[in-house]
């Protein structure tokens, strides 16, 4: 992909990010921060790619740490967000403990 195409994608994605967050109730600030936090665990893909051409102890170590860090970010981030949001939904009004705003 050439640089200009990538830049186009970058700019459009930035606008999507601005638009998608609009007036979040404060209740959800913490979980939402935690969720977007998990999404930047996407860097793990970068770790996988650099592992492919890693050569020598240093590069292998760098790739290993990068993958491990990225995976902590992804796994831990999504799980903890789920746990946090579970605290809310378990308390939603009694009948049918399904999501269904009261």
């Amino acid at each position: 992909m050439d640089l200009v195409t990538e830049f186009t994608i970058f700019v459009l994605a930035a606008f999507v990010g601005f638009e998608v967050i609009s007036k979040v109730p404060t209740t959800l600030h913490t979980p939402l921060m935690s969720q977007t936090n998990a999404i930047h665990g996407i860097v793990m893909l970068g770790g996988l790619i650099v592992a492919g051409f890693a050569d020598g102890a240093l590069e292998l170590t760098l790739a290993f740490i990068a993958i491990a860090f990225g995976t902590i970010n992804i796994v831990g981030g999504f799980l903890v967000t789920d746990r946090m949001l579970g605290m809310f939904s378990r308390k939603r009004p009694k009948p049918a403990d399904d999501e269904q705003g009261s």
């Binding site: 921060m33 860097v43 770790g47 993958i67 992804i74 809310f88």
Partner: protein, 470 residues
């Protein structure tokens, strides 16, 4: 070889799978902004992540499977254990830590890429993003670690200012820019590894120095900002690696994180530059005369229990101190005792109560406080004059009437829960010491205010006990 590479990097199929993945991220974030869909949104984003990871694992050129599997296992195990073990009160530190590892991963990937490209033909269009990723990733890693250490009380939460702070930061930033330019000039001519490491170190110092002077109460905004920064650094890594999933996901986190940061700062009546550069809370500005003894009324658990038990309506205002003392369960028990006696108990939630916006809601939900008992600030304030007793537990600045009455107060204009309007106020607090704003709270000295000096958890337990004995 456990897997045969089937997908071409940048090929049609892998790109389409990435498009699917980041579409799910966008839907996931969108659903995360509404209480009814948030949990599903998180799941959708996680599915998107799984698709992105599997797609990448199938790319041609992925190798060194031992390292990959080891990294996935170690990271996965730490992630699972940490997210099960962590207490809800520790959520802000957890987010800071996850944020840090994300930034650290970016910096290490950038270093790897730099080593890989150096010596050969190194196009500027991947060279520049590598430098950006290295700098932002390193700042984010170290900044987040400091934020974590502050929230975990490993280092003092008060602002730690070094003399000439701003100058040092500016010099560091300038040094980073200069080294980047020097490296950029030689990008095709085996650029120096030592200089690259120097950039990582300078950015690490910068990350430390920027976050150290920021007080604990501003930390949520800082974490949110670092979250956005880590997103951007991931996007930069995406440019360097020609990976569209990284570019889109990183950018979306960067921009949505920026909006979230600004919303948080607004809720605290703070501006982001102010938080980063002012060190508010360091010096008790404008509160010089506040050390003198002012008359106040102190009561014990029994008096508090009587006042509460014979009230018709009670509003509990939980704050940061409640989170620190982990008193949410004890407070819930106290509220249960009162409700048994027919007292109406509600909780007034300030937008920035707890250690992070929304954190108090999570804590109270964990303590089984029904969702409908939590009332947001704008909705509870009109009811305050009709409230018999307002109980402030571990909150301070968010109840200070000076924010409304005194235009010269450092917190003037900050939205507050108007407890001083209630008929009677009980403040549970360890001492009269000021909150993070470093200013005295006029609430403590009102005639209608009684101070119950105790640890939040112990006080709630004692009051609950006294109420049962009445």
């Amino acid at each position: 070889m456990p897997l045969t590479a089937v997908l071409e990097p940048g090929g049609d199929l892998s790109t389409l799978l990435y498009v699917l993945a980041f579409s799910l991220f966008i839907i996931g974030i969108k659903q995360g902004t509404s209480p009814t869909t948030a949990k599903r949104g998180n799941l959708i984003a996680a599915v998107g992540m799984a698709i992105a990871v599997v797609t990448t694992l199938l790319l041609d050129g992925i190798g060194n499977w031992g390292v990959i599997v080891a990294g996935l296992l170690v990271g996965g195990a730490i992630g699972v254990v940490a997210s099960i073990r962590v207490q809800m009160t520790q959520m802000p530190q957890m987010v800071a830590l996850y944020n840090g590892v994300g930034g650290g991963a970016v910096a290490l990937i950038a270093w790897s890429e730099f080593r890989h490209g150096a010596g050969g033909d190194f196009p500027l269009e991947s060279f520049i993003p590598i430098l950006l990723a290295a700098v932002i990733g390193s700042v984010s890693f170290w900044g987040s670690n400091i934020a974590f250490a502050k929230l975990q009380d490993l280092i003092p939460t008060r602002p730690l200012a070094v003399p000439g702070q701003q100058v040092i930061n500016a010099v560091l930033l300038a040094a980073i820019v200069v080294i980047c330019i020097v490296l950029g000039i030689n990008h095709n001519d085996d650029p120096s590894q030592a200089l690259f490491i120097l950039i990582l170190v300078a950015a690490a110092l910068l990350g430390n120095l920027v976050v150290l002077p920021i007080g604990g109460a501003d930390m949520p905004v800082v974490i949110s900002l670092l979250n956005a920064l880590t997103g951007l650094s991931a996007a930069a890594a995406g440019f360097a690696l020609d990976n569209v999933a990284l570019i889109v996901a990183g950018t979306i986190v960067g921009s949505s994180g920026t909006i979230l940061t600004m919303e948080m700062a607004t809720a605290m009546n703070r501006s982001v530059p102010n938080i980063l550069f002012a060190g508010f809370g360091g010096a008790p500005a404008g509160a010089a005369g506040s050390t003198e003894e002012r008359p106040h009324r102190s009561i014990g658990a029994q008096d508090a229990a009587i006042a509460l038990a014979y009230a018709d309506s009670v509003v509990i205002v939980p704050g940061y101190g409640l989170a620190v003392a982990q008193a949410q369960h004890a407070v819930k028990e106290m509220a249960d005792e009162l409700e048994k006696r027919g007292v109406e108990v509600r909780y007034a939630i300030h937008p920035v109560a707890g250690r992070m916006p929304g954190h108090m809601n999570v804590l109270l939900a964990e303590a089984d406080v029904p969702y409908e008992k939590l009332v947001e600030m704008e909705d509870i304030n009109p009811d305050m004059p009709r409230t018999d007793v307002a109980v402030v537990i571990g909150a301070n600045d968010v109840t200070n009437p000076a924010a409304k009455d005194d235009p010269d107060s450092p917190i003037a204009g900050m939205p507050i829960i108007e407890v001083s309007e209630a008929k009677q106020v009980i403040v549970v607090k360890r001492s009269l010491s000021p909150g993070f704003a470093g200013i005295d709270n006029d609430l403590f000295y009102l005639d209608k205010t009684a101070m119950l000096f105790a640890d939040a958890k112990k006080a709630a337990q004692e009051v609950a006990g006294e109420v049962t004995n009445l």
